[in-house]
Symmetry: C2
DNA sequence: GTCTATATGAAGATAGAC
DNA sequence: GTCTATCTTCATATAGAC
């Protein structure tokens, strides 16, 4: 069992290093040499843990999804009403402002990169977005069951994605704040 | 002069081929071999016209900007009031729906890809967005001079970018249409 | 201005000794 | 489970004959 734990630990080490690398460099510019350097795992060894770069990506996405689920579970407990939960979701843009203006949304920017040619990889990334999408839809169902909750959900995703893209182009944190406030007022009007 | 025309013609041929390639594959996956193949210009010759891949990108962006300016000039004549002009801008999402769900917004997706590491290239692409931004701002100044026209401009960009990103993730043309209608109603309310 | 041949480097991936 | 050496492929880019 000790050996298996070690393997699992090294895998985690690789996945966490790749998570950052992926966000900061993107998939196509990130190399196995980069992963080796950042994770402190010798280049040759990486192939013992992951046969291909695609496999590492899938593991990173799984890891991110787990983290997202944990976060959403906490929010579900922390906020008793769906309106506050949705506002907390919007506030990611404030909390992560620095990163967003530099690297964009981790999900959106990766999809943009992979969506063009690497369509299998893109669907791997889509799974990440789906976690948010389902959670948001659930909140809208609680908040306004008579409305078109699918449309509301997509609208919220549209505006948060747009905020990330445009604020990243113009490196504009003020825009992020401005749009977030506006979006929260929209949430207040949904009934 | 004939020789110079030939050079210019070949350059154009390369730029137009790269324009499509860039949109369909993205910058990092697009190679000089691809450009040679699509443009029908022998691989070795490319370096006679452009010393680096970055130079080709700059030429493509210049070419796109020229096309955008021509389009905007036509709209300025075709539509007498700024509200209709802005609605025409939004309608790009309908006209280009097929391409957008497959490849995203040509500007947004390229920025997402280049924004992470290749910051000089990113600013090349930003010039493209600025052409739209300035034109949109001018329309809002005509439409609602008392409003915060910068905020209105960015809001429109945010929502059109978001539409592209999310509809591309979910390959959802209906979303594109739905959000466009909603956005045009928003334009109607701006005074 | 055109084309072939090639230099050079880095990428993903594998083999096999330890 | 670790590490080195290496294979293969493909990229950008250059040299130089025509």
């Amino acid at each position: 069992m000790a050996a298996r734990d070690k393997t699992e630990q090294t895998r985690q080490q690789i996945v966490e290093a790749t998570d950052n690398l992926l966000y900061h460099k993107g998939f196509n510019l990130m190399s196995f040499s980069d992963i080796a350097e950042v994770s402190k795992v010798p280049r040759g060894n990486l192939y013992y843990y992951f046969k291909t770069k695609d496999e590492v990506l899938a593991a990173v996405v799984d890891h991110r999804i787990q983290q997202m689920r944990t976060m959403l579970d906490i929010w579900d407990v922390e906020f008793t009403n769906p309106r506050d939960r949705l506002k907390r979701f919007i506030d990611i843009s404030s909390v992560e402002a620095e990163n967003i203006v530099r690297y964009g949304c981790p999900i959106g920017s990766l999809t943009a990169e992979l969506g063009k040619q690497q369509i299998e990889l893109k669907s791997t990334v889509k799974r990440q977005m789906d976690v948010f999408k389902r959670w948001i839809k659930k909140q809208f169902q609680l908040l306004a069951p008579d409305q078109d909750v699918d449309a509301l959900t997509l609208h919220l995703l549209v505006r948060t994605q747009g905020m990330s893209t445009v604020s990243s182009i113009y490196k504009d944190k003020k825009l992020l704040k401005q749009e977030a406030e506006q979006l929260k007022r929209w949430i207040d009007r949904v009934t």
